[in-house]
């Protein structure tokens, strides 16, 4: 065994060279080649060559073998991909390679097409990203489509969706067979002490079954036990994951510890999972139990519970609805407070998305239009390119290329461009999504989950493929039908390509129409927004700071305690540096909180008999109207309007106008219900209408009573200042600490921000639709400019002949510009018609502007026509300057 002895003693061949030949050698011979080389390497060493020489030889062998091996590999490897090539992959790769090579020679064309498409696709992708997170992605619970929200409903009284009262909730839970779970919850705020500064913590009080209804299990510890249903049980609390991390460092020892909430000890029993999401954000969850006081007949009228239900498997929402109708009939006949009330069931998802569906669909429509215009521009470019390559195509066809083959080349090229556009669009969408979310109104649910994820990328890619396909087909259909001898005329290409003009003209009309629709939509929104901006809110926002605080009932149980606290707070705030005046109210405008109580007019039986009157109710301090700049007739509250003084009330103009249209209500008396029952009060003043529910809301009936006569445990302090807001915030806090060490101040903000927050969603849709509309207009005009220039360049001969026959510059100008403006005019007519149909869906988003507002329609149409004329002027002017001699010489 001479050979094996040699092997044993042989040094190994150079590893890198060995790897190289192993990599390039065809697989069928790889083993033999490696073994042969190793064998000879060993022979060389055995023959007395030194190691360096042997390695040298090995390397030379490997390097010399690379070319032949690679050649063979490509020949041999083909059968290995037979499966692939059946799907045309090899051919596809070849096509892609070919298309890349063709495109590389046209960088300007590629850049224009890719950027235009990226603009359209990017806008679509970013908006789809938002829509996907908000509208399409299922809620993060098991079987989310089985979750419903339950509402009491009394359409006759104008209460389509009302919260549910505790006794009615218990009836629903007990008798509804359609539901596997029913749970109720309500928002709450605790004052947390003992962990750092005293602070307010958002909490939810929910019936114990809520976690099993949602299908969520605790990350640590357990949920609420069943006994928590009963009132008077242990005070227990479940923490959000984030609260647990922040205050307990994520330590599982937190279970069993106690939290001091509103001065009471609560035992921690569980921690929710990190990714738990709930429509109402809260850091603490406490069990909601109903004592005898909450299930009285009277409480059937106190509707304050949010109610969720999970459908039993196999039960349809319709079945549940009919069952609930039966229950409502039964309850209505048994309890006077339920009479006339039914139930409404809404899927939780629909309820959350609510009005934002319309907004997002609107935005998707807008970006869809932008994409269409981008595509139209690209079709123009693709057609021009096809025309440029017509000669090449004819030659290829004459040499035997089939129509399919040529179409396939064009398709691959356009798909490649579309995919490139999609790649740029996805990159841009990544970059755009953060500012977009920041700009969006915070009230949109699940906005924090907006991300450019796999779904969104898949959407963008499929959209781009569709775009590539459409581009190719439109460009192909608009190509002239070539006869077999067309090739003979290739050299005279200048005269060819007229057939595409019709398609180009249609594209212009379409682009103008689409951009006009978008612009009209944006114009209507702008008008509506400006109208809202001009609405007098009834108060002056500039220079007013607001800060909310609420007094724990435990320490401020008596009216006297609250009154004296408010008096001290306001008195001390008033003397702060820079403060002009201060006031306090229970319900700040546009802050979302309202109180509504019944009232009657003393001495007028008719008003109180025929209808039950109710008014928005406010308790305000003497300085409130002055600080807010609310106009007042009569007198304001004064310091003596306290519990010792006579009960007084101030009403708003709407109320005065409705009940005292001809006389002065000052001095009249009304009886207003409040926390202490009905009180007869003398009207001492009338204030301007304040748009409490938002600028778009109609003023309602409103009554203001002195805070000192009806001290609620929560107020918002307002201070008109001449100083910077931050300074005042600090001063207010210090002030508060001297009065009460354990009282947190919340929602410190300028009044202007409240109004701005209210306007934010409108601003969001206005800005987005406006930007899209302007982009659309710009692209449409670029497209128009491009097409007219192209048409002019094709008509040089004809224009030359016209001029040679005596046409003047003016005639040519009129001829070319006339055609372009005619097209734009057709687009405007078409767009106006389309807008008239489509803007109907905007009606609910508009304030005091008709969806077919003639002024907007006319102004936008004129704008588009003017811009279109400008866009076609340059090419028309160039056409008019054609030198007939040069033009004819080109023939």
């Amino acid at each position: 065994m001479k050979q094996s002895e040699r092997r044993a003693t042989a040094q190994l061949p150079p590893r890198l060279a060995r790897a190289l030949i192993a990599a390039v050698a065809p697989s069928r011979d790889r083993r033999f080649i490696l073994d042969d080389l190793a064998e000879e390497f060993a022979i060389l060493l055995a023959e007395g060559n030194d190691r360096r020489q042997a390695r040298h030889w090995y390397w030379r062998q490997v390097i010399a073998s690379v070319p032949s091996s690679l050649r063979r590999r490509s020949a041999v490897s083909r059968p290995r991909f037979r499966g692939w090539s059946r799907f045309g992959l090899t051919a596809l790769l070849r096509d892609v390679h070919f298309a890349t090579r063709r495109l590389r020679s046209r960088p300007g064309y590629v850049a224009t097409v890719v950027l235009t498409l990226a603009l359209g696709l990017g806008a679509c992708t970013a908006i789809f990203g938002v829509a996907h997170a908000v509208l399409l992605r299922p809620l993060p619970y098991p079987l989310p489509d089985r979750l419903l929200t339950v509402w009491e409903s009394n359409p006759e009284k104008g209460n389509r969706l009302s919260l549910v009262s505790p006794p009615t909730f218990l009836d629903v839970r007990q008798s509804a067979g359609a539901f596997s779970h029913v749970a109720a919850y309500g928002g709450n705020t605790f004052e947390l002490t003992g962990l750092g500064y005293p602070q307010h913590v958002a909490a939810i009080a929910a019936t114990p079954g809520i976690f099993s209804l949602l299908g969520v299990s605790m990350a640590v510890g357990s949920g609420f036990p069943r006994e928590a249903e009963q009132p008077g049980g242990d005070a227990i609390v479940v923490l959000s994951y984030q609260f647990w991390r922040r205050w307990f460092g994520g330590d599982s020892d937190a279970i069993g510890r106690t939290l001091k909430l509103d001065g009471q000890d609560f035992r921690v029993v569980g921690v929710l999972p990190e990714r738990f999401w709930f429509p109402a954000a809260a850091d603490l969850w406490t069990p909601l139990a109903f004592g005898p006081a909450q299930i009285t007949e009277g409480m059937r009228g106190a509707r304050y519970l949010q109610t969720l239900a999970r459908l039993k498997p196999g039960v349809s929402p319709e079945q549940a609805r009919s069952e609930m109708t039966g229950l409502a009939d039964h309850l209505g006949s048994a309890h006077p407070n339920n009479a006339g009330w039914g139930f409404q069931l809404e899927s939780l998802h629909d309820h959350l998305v609510g009005d934002y569906r319309r907004l997002l669909v609107l935005l998707l429509g807008a970006v869809g239009f932008v994409l269409c215009i981008a595509c139209a521009n690209v079709v123009n470019l693709v057609m021009a390119r096809a025309n440029e390559r017509r000669g090449e195509k004819l030659i290829r066809a004459a040499l035997g290329a089939t129509k399919l083959r040529l179409l396939r080349d064009a398709l691959v090229e356009n798909l490649l461009l579309a995919l490139l556009g999609a790649a740029v669009a996805i990159a841009a969408a990544f970059w755009m999504v953060t500012p977009l979310v920041r700009l969006a109104p915070a009230a949109i649910p699940r906005l924090d989950q907006v991300a450019i994820d796999g779904w969104v990328i898949a959407f963008c890619l499929s959209l781009s493929l569709a775009v590539g396909l459409v581009l190719t087909l439109v460009a192909r259909l608009s190509e002239p039908r070539d006869s077999d001898h067309a090739i003979l005329r290739v050299s005279g290409a200048r005269t060819a390509g007229h057939t595409g003009h019709r398609v180009r003209r249609l594209l212009i009309v379409g682009e103008v129409a689409l951009s006009l629709v978008l612009l009209i939509g944006a114009g209507l929104m702008l008008r509506s927004f400006l109208r809202l901006h001009d609405v007098d809110p009834g108060f002056r926002t500039d220079g007013v700071m607001t800060a909310s605080l609420s007094l724990p009932r435990a320490r401020y149980a008596s009216n006297e305690a609250r009154v004296s606290f408010f008096r001290d707070l306001l008195a001390q705030t008033e003397i702060l540096d820079g403060v002009v005046s201060v006031g306090a109210t229970t319900n700040l405008p546009m802050a979302g909180s309202t109180m509504r109580f019944g009232f009657g007019i003393d001495g007028r039986a008719d008003a109180s008999l025929n209808e039950r009157l109710a008014a928005e109710y406010h308790a305000a301090s003497p300085g409130y109207f002055r600080t807010m700049g609310i106009a007042l007739r009569g007198r304001s509250f004064v310091a003596s309007d306290n519990s010792d003084g006579a009960p007084v009330v101030i009403i708003n103009q709407s109320m005065a106008r409705r009940f005292w249209p001809a006389s002065d209500p000052v001095g009249e008396r009304i009886t207003v219900v409040s926390q202490d029952g009905p009180v007869s009060r003398e009207i001492v003043g009338i204030v301007a209408d304040v748009r409490h529910a938002g600028l778009a809301s109609e003023p309602r009936l409103e009554v203001y009573v002195p805070l000192a006569q009806d001290p609620w445990p929560f107020v918002t302090v307002v201070a008109r200042t001449v100083r910077g807001e931050t300074l005042l915030t600090g001063q207010l806090r210090d002030q508060l600490l001297t009065l009460d060490q354990a009282l947190p101040l919340s929602r410190v903000q300028p009044l202007e921000r409240l109004v701005a927050t209210w306007l934010a969603p409108l601003q969001f849709q206005l800005v987005l639709v406006g930007v899209f509309a302007l982009v659309a207009l710009l692209m449409a005009m670029l497209g128009m400019y491009g097409v007219i220039s192209y048409v002019v360049s094709r008509r040089v001969n004809e224009i030359g002949i016209r001029m040679a026959l005596g046409a003047r510059q003016r005639d040519v100008l009129r001829n070319v510009a006339g055609e372009a403006i005619g097209l734009a005019g057709a687009g405007v007519v078409l767009g106006t018609a389309a807008a008239a149909v489509l803007t109907g869906s905007l009606a609910s988003l508009l304030y005091e502007v008709s969806p077919t507002d003639p002024a907007t329609f006319a102004a936008i149409s004129l704008l588009v026509l003017a811009v279109a004329s400008a866009a076609c002027f340059v090419p028309a002017y160039q056409a008019a300057r054609v030198d007939p001699i040069c033009a004819l010489r080109q023939e």
Binding site: D35, A64, S68, R72
Partner: protein, 112 residues
């Protein structure tokens, strides 16, 4: 013999090497045979490329031997000339012979 199936020079060398090696023709021996007789560097990759081409044409037949019964023993791919291969080689030689039949090739070449 179909047109275009002329053997290339290197193919002829490989075939003749196989002829000389009888049943001992595999990568190493073929390469060394050609290298030693022609005195030119021959790459093992080229040998295998040529052998594969010949095999595809049906001029040689490849058989893979059992691994040698020793530790680390290898299997070898032996090549043998087929009947058609022999015909092709004969044909190639015949053509060269016909081309050079009635002239004194060496003398003529020297005279250039």
């Amino acid at each position: 013999m179909p047109k275009g199936d002329y053997l290339g020079e290197f193919e002829q060398l490989v075939l003749v090497a196989l002829l000389r090696l009888k049943d001992r023709g595999y990568g190493v021996t073929v390469r060394r045979e050609i290298q030693s007789r022609t005195d030119r560097q021959v790459a093992i990759g080229a040998v295998y490329a040529s052998l594969e081409r010949l095999e595809r044409k049906g001029y040689v037949l490849a058989t893979v031997s059992e691994p040698e019964p020793v530790p680390g023993g290898r299997a070898k791919k032996y090549f043998r000339i087929t009947h058609t291969g022999a015909e092709a080689l004969k044909h190639a030689r015949e053509i060269m012979r016909r081309m050079t039949d009635d002239i004194a090739v060496d003398a003529e070449l020297d005279a250039i």
